[in-house]
Structure formats: structure tokens, C-alpha cells
């Protein structure tokens, strides 16, 4: 019996040892890589950007704002720090507040807004992005959210980088991410088909009014005000039939107006209507859509004089 138990333990240890070694190597790479989502943390925690324009938001920010294009059109230094699946509480605690603490004040802070940024039931998958950074003390300082990161992700080696060879390969590819994209991430969802797909076809997007999330949205506004940072709230394009019409947009704008009455807002939600040429899927633009939208946004910022 003892021999049996001993042998089982030894085989398991030998089988899992390589994964822990690979885990260590990948963690190290993740902390120096500039592919979203890791770029966003590395830009904030490892670098000092001192950017003129910074963009925060969820995946719609990450996939819609082409930082390099804004640089060339407005002759400034812009970074996209959008993160997949983050609501305003995460954005404030993990990104906006630490960024402003570490860097000189940006001239313009763009915050992507949309009904989804008020959701409070994000999947653990999004939180796994914290894991390579857990041993950074400054990160832990801000992340009390880490407490509820799934136990499995913390003990199972390499799993938070993906659950199949495809995910791991994508991560490996991401190490060669084009740093000039400055945080922009080509939409990931429809990679398999490369054609427009409807995300969550049966979902009706209810506007949730979670107190904590609303509180941190307000904190973001107050922080910008207190630091005299120009804040701009932008709602980027949404597919009209498959996304916009499923959201209670009137109610959403009423909420935004009540929370941020004096902050400039730009609404591009119906910019492309239902033209699938510009969409990767119903909730995200493709590269062409991102370029056209970013160009329009840059012109509008310029004409409104928000960078002066």
C-alpha cells in the first residue's frame, strides 16, 4: 500500500513539475510583455508613460482605440490601457488611480462608457490576468479584488494562460506583439471564422446599477477633477441591430448625465449603424472600424480643443 501511494505521488510530481517550470518562465515573460491585457499592467506598474492621452475602458476600449493613429493625427503621445471585461471599479482601482499616482497628469483621459461597464458579474477568466502580477507588491496594494480570484487558477500551473494549445500558442505569439500599437488589440472573438458573428444573440443587456461600480465611476470623475485632468466620456460604435437595440441606451445616458453632468461626452454608438463591414462581431469593431472610428474621434477632439 505504502509503495503504491508513494509511486502515485512521484509520478504526479514528475508529471506536473514541467508545468510549474513553464509557468515560471511564462509569468516572467508576461511581466515584460506588451500584448493586452498584460501591456496594460506593465505600462502602469513597470513603466512610466507620461502620456498626453490615456484611454481606459473595457474590451471595447481595447479593440476600438488605435493609439498610434491618435499620436499621428494629434501629434501627441497616446496609450490605450483598455482591459477586457472590466467594470468601472476594476478600472479605477487597478488602472486609473495607480496610473495617475505614478505618472505626470495626462492632458486628456478618455473613458470608454457603455452599459456593460456597469456589469458586476464578470467571469473569473478576466481576473486571471492579474495572476502573473500577484507578487508585485504595488499591484497587491490596489487589488483587494484578488481575494476572490479562483483558487484553481492559483494552484493549477499554466492554466490561466489558456486551456488548450491554441490559447498557449496565442500567448506565445503575443510575446512578439507590435509595441507600436500601444495597447490596441485587434478584436479576438471571431478569429476562427474571420467573418461577422453575433455575440450573445439571445442576450438583452439590462442596465445594472451596482452601487460599488457607480461609486468608482464617480471616483474616477472626481479624481480627474481634483487633478485638473480633462476627462472625456466616449461611447464607441455599437452594431445597431445586434447590440445597440438590445441595450437600454436612453436609460444609460440618463444615468451617465446624472453622474457626470459637467463632463464632455461623445456618442458614436450609431456611427456605423448595422454595417458589418466595420464590425468583427456585434459588440466589437474590426481593425477597419477601429481605424475609421479613431480617425473621427481624433478630429472631434481636435475640433473641440480638448487637448489644448
Amino acid at each position: 500500500m505504502k509503495r503504491f501511494i508513494f509511486e502515485v505521488i512521484i509520478v504526479l510530481l514528475v508529471a506536473f513539475l514541467p508545468f510549474y517550470i513553464i509557468q515560471g518562465i511564462i509569468d516572467k515573460k508576461a511581466r515584460t510583455c506588451y500584448k493586452p491585457p498584460y501591456s496594460s499592467f506593465n505600462y502602469i506598474y513597470n513603466d512610466t508613460l507620461n502620456a498626453d492621452v490615456v484611454i481606459f475602458g473595457n474590451s471595447r476600449a481595447q479593440c476600438h482605440y488605435y493609439g498610434d493613429l491618435i499620436d499621428s493625427l494629434l501629434d501627441c503621445n497616446c496609450y490605450n490601457l483598455g482591459l477586457n471585461g472590466y467594470s468601472f471599479d476594476y478600472q479605477y482601482n487597478l488602472q486609473i488611480f495607480p496610473y495617475i499616482q505614478k505618472n505626470t497628469n495626462p492632458k486628456l483621459l478618455i473613458l470608454e462608457v457603455g452599459p456593460q461597464a456597469f456589469f458586476d458579474h464578470w467571469n473569473d477568466d478576466f481576473r486571471k490576468e492579474f495572476l502573473p502580477f500577484l507578487n508585485i507588491s504595488s499591484f497587491n496594494f490596489y487589488v483587494d479584488i484578488c481575494k476572490d480570484i479562483s483558487f484553481f487558477y492559483q494552484i493549477l500551473p499554466i492554466k490561466y494562460y489558456g486551456w488548450g494549445l491554441n490559447d498557449l500558442y496565442n500567448f506565445y505569439k503575443s510575446l512578439n506583439y507590435d509595441i507600436t500599437k500601444k495597447g490596441y488589440n485587434d478584436c479576438f472573438a471571431p478569429r476562427e471564422t474571420e467573418k461577422y458573428v453575433i455575440n450573445f444573440p439571445d442576450t438583452i443587456y439590462q442596465l445594472e446599477k451596482n452601487d460599488t461600480i457607480i461609486q468608482y465611476f464617480t471616483e474616477s470623475i472626481n479624481l480627474c477633477e481634483s487633478k485638473s485632468i480633462q476627462l472625456l466620456l466616449v461611447c464607441s460604435p455599437m452594431h445597431k441591430d445586434d447590440f445597440y437595440d438590445k441595450c437600454r441606451m436612453d436609460e444609460f445616458w440618463q444615468l451617465i448625465d446624472s453622474l457626470a453632468p459637467n463632463v464632455p461626452k461623445l456618442d458614436y454608438s450609431l456611427m456605423f449603424g448595422s454595417d458589418t463591414t466595420y464590425f468583427a462581431e456585434s459588440t466589437h469593431l474590426n481593425l477597419l472600424g477601429a481605424e475609421v472610428f479613431t480617425t473621427k474621434l481624433a478630429h472631434d477632439i481636435d475640433s473641440l480643443g480638448l487637448l489644448k
Binding site: A15, G164, L165, R191
Partner: protein
């Protein structure tokens, strides 16, 4: 609790250690040691089963008590008629429970549709308890075997409950016979290193088949079958082939894990699969697929109905041989259809399962009529030496390969019926397959999906091919110790890397 879940990963070692260290070693001088060890198995099995929904425990407890009492009732009944009445009562109650939970809504809906009335008020909307068909059939076999005097009635309720609820095979078989499993709970078990190692290797191989092959095939198959109207014929053919591997990996993987787990506890379960995809005709396929269910229907339905050699009625005794032969064949065909249709319907309340059973009956009947249904009782590409030992060949002959390929293709077609949501979806799949789009390039997702999956399916088939004439897991056949350890580590690594994000239930849990 799923075999491929984290909970089970904790549950199994705890139960294993307590079983051997506390209820075997520490209590070795206690005169109730066996009873306590069986009681522990019962508790562990009820925890395992109650993990899904504790309310399911009530049903299995009812089945257990009724079947236990029926055994005693059959023994005590003074007349043969009384014994039969007790057995029939037990069968009726157990089938009644199964019928209400599994088939009532189906028949009510069909009935309402037939009458053209609203069915909602007729439906019960009961949740189907996991594995109800498996333990019900096991309970039925007990009372029938007691009635047939093939086994003595059990007077130990703890051992009997352990027999009916033994967690490794509780929810998806193998459907054990009381003659095999019950005596094992009535005698002392002792830990055997070689059996435990063999069990662990079988678990590992089962997990590989389930997690690496079946679950990854499922990601493709489910995507394709969820949106049939937008798929090409070639994609649907590929999905059908992958489903063929999925259902085999899923169910035989489960059986391997169950049999391996039982070995850890010193219990030997019957073999449930014997390389069915290497069959040379459909009759051989059915001797190798879901053996415990097939033999159940054979022993308790087919043979009592007369099988393929029914007794002749008196009025035919005086008739000519030709007429007698024709009668025999008619009854054999009838019986074949009955067991195939029942077998199909056993899988679930859906006409697709009935059609699937009928399809296999249609394939089987010609072999039966030509007396070729028992042609292949040996294993493919093997030679039996004069001393009785079996020598395996590396490759099958060209004829055997052709036969296996044809049988496989017939099985694939059958699985399309089985996988379809309903008959109309099946029709849609077949019409798409028969269109021009059959010649287009199928959707393959990406190379990081199909290349590793193809390799893993090939590994599974190779492993099954190597072990086809053995009763052991493929890893136990290899003699070189270092090779075994390397293979074990590679299998663990594959299981870990290819484990899907979400836990997937075993397909047969729904039956």
C-alpha cells in the same frame, strides 16, 4: 460528482485511504469489519450521488429497499406463483419509477399531439435522476436472478445497498449482475498492489479518452450541431465522425475510470467495451459495444422471448422442416427488433433513439437470417495457437480492414441519428450531406485544434488496437517499466494540457 471534476480528485483519495487504512487495517480485529467497510462504501456512494441533488437519494433508497425485500419475498413465498408475483411486483414498481421519471412527459406530449390538445397541463416536468436507468436495471437483474435461483437472496442490507449504489459504476454502469458483484461485497477484500496499479492505469487511460478525445471532439461537434443549417455536407460528415469518437471516448472512458476505481477498492467489475470500432460486422460491434447493457437485454429479454431458437408451438411440431425453420426465423427477427428497439428507447424518450435501434436491427437481421451473426467471435487480426494462447498480428488483412471500415461507416451513420435532436434535424443533416457541399472543404477551426486532436484520436485508436485481445488497460500490457512511466507522465500531461475550460458531463449520465 463528475469523475473529471476537482471534487472527485479530492473525494477519491480520501475514500481510498479511509477504506484501506481505517475500515480495513485499523478494524482488522473487529468482527464487524466487513459490515463497517461496506457501510463506508454506502456512505461514500451516497455522498457521491447526492452531490448532484440529495433528493435523488430518496429514489435510489426506495429502489434498494424494494429490491432487497423482493429477494427475501421471493425466497419466502411458498409457491412458484407467489415467487413470480413478488418478482413481477418488484419489476413493475421499479419500471414504474423509471417510466414516470424518464418517459412520462414524452408519452404525455405525444398523446396530446395525437389528440391535438395542449400538453402543458399533462406534463410533470420532473428532473431525470442521474443514472436511473443503470441502477434500475441492476436492481431488476437481482430479483430476476433470485427468482431464477441463479443467486441466493441477500440478507445483508448493507452489502446489498453497497452492491446497488457502488459509486464507481452507479451513474453510468457497467450494469453489473448480482451474481458477479454482490458476492464481492459479502467477502473480505484485501489490498493488492498489482490490481491497484492496474486500476490506476485504467483510470488514466479512461481520463485520456474522456478529457482529451471526447471533450475536445465535443467542442467541434456541439458547435456544428447547434447550427446545422449553416454547415456544409463535408463539415457534417466530419462532425459525425468526431461524434463517433466522442461517444466512444466518453462512454468507454467512463467505464475505464469506473472499472479502474473499483479495482482500487478490490472490486472487479465486468468489461463494458471491447474495441467496438474494430468490429468486422454489426453483430460483432454489438458484442463489443456497451456489453453490460447488450448482455442484459440478451439474458432478460431476448432469451426469455425465445432468442434465435424459440421453442416450437405444438401445432408446428408435426409440420415440415421448412415451415419450422421459417417460424424460427420469424420469431428470431421479431425478438431482434424488440431488443434493438428497447435498447434504443432505453437511451431516452426520443424517437431518434428508437430509430437508431431500428436502424441497427435492420443491419443485424440480414446477418441473423444468413446465420452469419456469430461469424466473428474472435478478435480481429489474432491467431489462436494450439495451446490456447492468442497471438496478435500488427496489422489486419486487407479484407479485415475493409470490413472494419464498412462497419465503422455504418456505425457513424447510426450515430447521426443518435446525435440529432429530433427526426427532422436528422433529415436536415442527411439532406445537407447528400448535397454538393459534401465535396467542399470542411470547417476545421484552426490547426491548433485539428492537428493535436487527430494525433490524440490516433493515439487512442493505437492504444485500443494494441490492447484489443487483452482485458487490461493498454499501459498494463507494456512490459518495460521505464516506458510505462514515461507513457503515464505523457498521458497526465496531455490530460492536463487538453482539459477543456468547462467540465463536461458524461453523455450517458442523461440515460
Amino acid at each position: 460528482m463528475l469523475f473529471n471534476s476537482f471534487e472527485y480528485l479530492i473525494f477519491l483519495p480520501i475514500v481510498f485511504l479511509l477504506y484501506w487504512f481505517v475500515f480495513d487495517y485499523a478494524l482488522r480485529r473487529c468482527k464487524h469489519q466487513l459490515m463497517l467497510q461496506n457501510l463506508f462504501i454506502v456512505v461514500a456512494s451516497y455522498v457521491f450521488y447526492g452531490w448532484w441533488d440529495w433528493r435523488f437519494l430518496i429514489l435510489i433508497a426506495i429502489t434498494t429497499v424494494l429490491s432487497f425485500l423482493s429477494g427475501i419475498g421471493i425466497e419466502k413465498a411458498p409457491t412458484q406463483r407467489g415467487k413470480k408475483a413478488v418478482m413481477i411486483a418488484n419489476i413493475a414498481v421499479n419500471l414504474g419509477i423509471l417510466g414516470v421519471y424518464k418517459y412520462y412527459d414524452f408519452f404525455a406530449r405525444e398523446f396530446a399531439q395525437l389528440l391535438g390538445i395542449e400538453s402543458d397541463f399533462l406534463l410533470l416536468h420532473l428532473i431525470l435522476p442521474v443514472g436511473i436507468s443503470f441502477y434500475t436495471f441492476q436492481a431488476l437483474s437481482y430479483s430476476i436472478d433470485v427468482y431464477r435461483k441463479q443467486i441466493e437472496p441477500c440478507h445483508d442490507i448493507v452489502a446489498f445497498t453497497a452492491f446497488l449504489s457502488f459509486f464507481p459504476q452507479l451513474v453510468a454502469g457497467p450494469i453489473e449482475r448480482a451474481t458477479n458483484l454482490l458476492p464481492q461485497f459479502q467477502r473480505k477484500r484485501s489490498f493488492d498492489y498489482a490490481t491497484a496499479v492496474d486500476g490506476m492505469r485504467q483510470i488514466l487511460w479512461g481520463l485520456f479518452k474522456k478529457i482529451v478525445v471526447a471533450d475536445n471532439c465535443a467542442t467541434y461537434v456541439d458547435t456544428v450541431f447547434a447550427d446545422i443549417s449553416n454547415q456544409s455536407g463535408s463539415t457534417l460528415v466530419l462532425a459525425a465522425v468526431l461524434f463517433t469518437f466522442q461517444i466512444y471516448g466518453d462512454f468507454s472512458g467512463y467505464s475505464d475510470i469506473a472499472i479502474g476505481t473499483a479495482k482500487l477498492f478490490g472490486i472487479k467489475l465486468m468489461r463494458n467495451f471491447n474495441v467496438p470500432y474494430f468490429s468486422r460486422d454489426i453483430a460483432e460491434f454489438w458484442r463489443r459495444w456497451h456489453i453490460s447493457l447488450t448482455t442484459w437485454f440478451r439474458d432478460y429479454v431476448y432469451i426469455p422471448l425465445g432468442g434465435s431458437r424459440p421453442a416450437l408451438p405444438a401445432r408446428l411440431e408435426v409440420k415440415g422442416d421448412r415451415l419450422k425453420a421459417r417460424y424460427t426465423k420469424c420469431i428470431a427477427v421479431r425478438n431482434t427488433f424488440i431488443i434493438f428497439l428497447l435498447s434504443g428507447f432505453w437511451h431516452g424518450a426520443n424517437w431518434t433513439f428508437v430509430l437508431w435501434g431500428a436502424y441497427h436491427a435492420l443491419l443485424f437481421v440480414p446477418l441473423l437470417l444468413l446465420n452469419k451473426n456469430r461469424r466473428y467471435r474472435d478478435t480481429v487480426a489474432t491467431i489462436t495457437l494450439p495451446d490456447g494462447t492468442i497471438k496478435t498480428k500488427w496489422l489486419p488483412s486487407l479484407k479485415e480492414a475493409g470490413q472494419m471500415l464498412l462497419t465503422f461507416a455504418l456505425a457513424v451513420f447510426g450515430w447521426i441519428i443518435f446525435r440529432a435532436q429530433d427526426i427532422s434535424q436528422f433529415g436536415e443533416v442527411i439532406s445537407t450531406i447528400c448535397s454538393d457541399s459534401l465535396l467542399s472543404v470542411p470547417w476545421l477551426r484552426n490547426r491548433f485544434f485539428y492537428i493535436p486532436l487527430a494525433i490524440m484520436i490516433a493515439i487512442m485508436l493505437l492504444g485500443e488496437w494494441i490492447s484489443r485481445s487483452s482485458n487490461q488497460a493498454v499501459l498494463s500490457i507494456i512490459k518495460n517499466k521505464l516506458s510505462i512511466v514515461i507513457l503515464e507522465i505523457c498521458l497526465i500531461a496531455c490530460i492536463y494540457v487538453f482539459a477543456p475550460r468547462e467540465l463536461t458531463e458524461f453523455i450517458y449520465f442523461q440515460f
